[in-house]
């Protein structure tokens, strides 16, 4: 259960074409993350799968059945919304039980499933509270609980962590990953945060302006980005890009090198620069080094021990096997 196929799907709002013809295959049990900058169509794509928006053309199949015309309720999918969308006038128990009630299940079965879900999500003590009395993280869990009890073919998550604070976000990330391991159900997860994509996904779908830029495992995208956009989007801090003579030396329009793939030396190296701002994170230190062939200063990752002063002259050398070359169209040269 949970195999979803999109074939030649398009969506336009009026004259605006949000999603050009798009094909995508989501396998059973996979954790797929749609990632891209805001406005790239990732949420729209999710809503098309959910059935909350009609496709303009093309087909969506769930487990081999054409679901294009099937209303959201009948698709057997569960969704966790950005705002959690809990029913404010119902207790946690009633919130979680709502889909079961709609499915007209036995009261006893409902109760059991709700209790089970609550136990898994550590919500047992809160079952009789209202959403308004819960913290952000707890609300998030209730929303997930409401999705779990339906035993859906797939879970859809629409930026579920964006309303949580940083520490909680890391926790929930782990919890959702853990949940995926336990349930082994297909999950489709939308985020603009590439860290979430990298840490959770089996498969990442990078979107830009409705187009799929690249599909692959996190490490594939990190190691072998197909174009400049993916290269710049995946990885933190961002990849450095150099053009001009520096790039030409490598037979490319643009070259890219990640901050962690630059070696720093006080004495010798390929590129010379002067240390600008440095950020000390303890374990690591990031130096920003302006160089002639890059619009932005290069970001360089060094160990936390390295101590360079502002204004110090240094040399940087890219590690050759991690260097990415791009042509004039921004496509990777292999």
């Amino acid at each position: 259960m949970g195999h979803i196929t999109l074939s030649q799907v398009t969506k336009s709002f009026g004259d605006v074409n949000v999603i050009p013809p798009l094909d995508l295959e989501i396998n059973e049990g996979e954790f797929v993350v749609f990632v891209g900058p805001s406005g790239c169509g990732k949420s729209t794509l999710l809503r098309l799968i959910a059935g909350l928006e009609d496709v303009t053309s093309g087909h969506i199949a769930i487990d081999g059945q054409d679901a294009t015309e099937v209303p959201p309720a009948k698709r057997g999918l569960a969704m966790v919304f950005q705002s959690y969308a809990l029913y404010p006038h119902m207790t946690v128990r009633k919130n979680i039980a709502f889909p079961l009630r709609m499915a007209k299940l036995d009261q006893a079965v409902q109760d059991k499933k709700v209790e089970d879900a609550a136990r898994v999500l550590n919500l047992t003590d809160y079952l009789d509270r209202r959403p308004g009395q819960l913290s952000g993280g707890q609300r998030q869990r209730v929303a997930i609980g409401r999705a779990i009890v339906r035993e859906p073919a797939a879970f859809l998550f629409d930026e579920p962590l964006s309303n949580l604070d940083a520490a909680l976000r890391v926790n929930m990330r782990l919890e959702i990953s853990e949940l995926h391991k336990q349930l082994d159900t297909t999950m489709i997860y939308v985020t603009h945060d590439q860290v979430e994509a990298m840490t959770m996904a089996d498969k990442i779908v990078v979107l830009r302006a409705g187009n799929i830029e690249q599909v692959g495992s996190p490490l594939e995208l990190y190691r072998r980005p197909q174009n400049k956009f993916v290269a710049g989007f995946i990885g933190s801090p961002k990849m450095n890009f150099l053009t001009g003579a520096t790039a030409a030396a490598y037979d490319a329009q643009t070259i890219g090198i990640r901050p962690e793939h630059l070696e720093v030396s006080r004495d010798s190296g390929d590129w010379k620069g002067v240390v600008g701002v440095s950020e000390h994170l303890g374990s690591d230190t990031f130096f920003h080094v302006p160089v002639p062939d890059s619009d932005d200063p290069l970001t360089v990752r060094a160990s936390g021990e390295v101590d360079l002063k502002r204004g110090e002259e240094i040399f940087l050398t890219p590690i050759q096997e991690h260097l990415h070359r791009f042509d004039a169209q921004g496509l990777a040269i292999r």
């Binding site: 959910a50 909350l52 209303p71 959201p72 309720a73 009948k74 999918l77 569960a78 969704m79 919304f81 950005q82 705002s83 969308a85 809990l86 029913y87 404010p88 006038h89 709502f98 889909p99 709609m102 499915a103 409401r146 339906r150």
Partner: protein
């Protein structure tokens, strides 16, 4: 702004505000007090404030003589009927404008409000004539219709504002959870909208209760509500202060209490959401 405010300043503020508040409230207070006086005490010079012989006699006389009950009943039917009818018509309209907005939604909404701006006197005769032709002059039905139409834009507007505050994602969640349109309206939308509908009901009931153009001009003996009942006291022979006060108190007391509960809605309802 966790800053200490001197007790002295607070005392000055309190005194000033209470003085002005009581001054503004005084005509109402005086009316209520006078309603418990005898006619002689009501016009005594110097006026008596509290030290008079409290009596309920005036209420008895007003109730007995003037068929107050019928006017009250007319007021309740007209205000209640027009409000409920208005809400029944407005709920679907506001619902669709809030949840399925189209490019024209805003224009429709503004147009609806603009009908509220039409001066009633401009269409007095046509309505009068239509009422005669339809045989609904001086009937409660006629007034229910006119006052409903008059307040419909405000009702639609208020409900629209309340519905807009219900996040669309919640309705989508219900849809994903397998709720049909009927179940969605029944289990999710209605419970969430009830506070908004209740305050809309309240404010429009008050507005309808106090409406004094159509009620004065389109009713005579049969369908006249309290506004017209009170107006009948303006003729000189009705000039008994204590009884006038008793009648007035009965006409305003229920609405005053309801009004105190609807302060918040008053602002958003009457400014069409332009002041929050």
């Amino acid at each position: 702004m966790a800053r200490a405010i001197t007790t002295q300043r607070k005392i000055i503020n309190t005194t000033a505000a209470w003085t002005i508040g009581l001054l503004i409230f005084f005509p109402i207070l005086w009316t209520i007090l006078t309603s418990f006086k005898t006619e002689a005490q009501a016009i005594s010079d110097p006026p008596v404030f509290l030290a008079f012989d409290w009596t309920l006699e005036n209420y008895g006389v007003v109730l007995e003589r003037s068929n107050y009950g019928r006017f009250l009943w007319n007021s309740i039917i007209i205000a209640g009927g027009s409000t409920i009818l208005g809400i029944l018509i407005a709920v679907p309209a506001a619902w669709s404008m809030a949840f399925v907005p189209s490019k024209r939604t805003k224009d429709i909404l503004l147009w609806m409000l603009s009908t509220k701006m039409l001066p009633a006197v401009g269409v007095l005769y046509p309505i009068y004539l239509l009422f005669i032709k339809l045989g609904i002059l001086d009937t409660r039905t006629g007034l229910v219709i006119v006052i409903m139409l008059m307040n419909l834009p405000i009702i639609v507007w208020m409900l629209y504002t309340y519905f807009k505050e219900i996040p669309g994602e919640i309705l989508e969640a219900a849809r994903m959870d397998g709720a049909t349109l009927k179940e969605e309206v029944l289990h999710i939308l209605t419970p969430m909208a009830i506070p908004g509908i209740a305050s809309t009901l309240l404010l429009n009931f008050i507005l309808a209760w106090n409406e004094a153009f159509w009620t004065l001009n389109l009713t005579a003996a049969k369908a006249a509500p309290l506004t017209a009942f009170i107006a009948s006291y303006s003729s000189p022979e009705g000039l008994f202060y204590a009884k006038l006060s008793a009648a007035s108190t009965m006409a305003i007391a229920p609405i005053l209490v309801l009004g105190w509960f609807s302060q918040k809605q008053l602002v958003s309802g009457l400014t069409f959401g332009a002041v929050k």
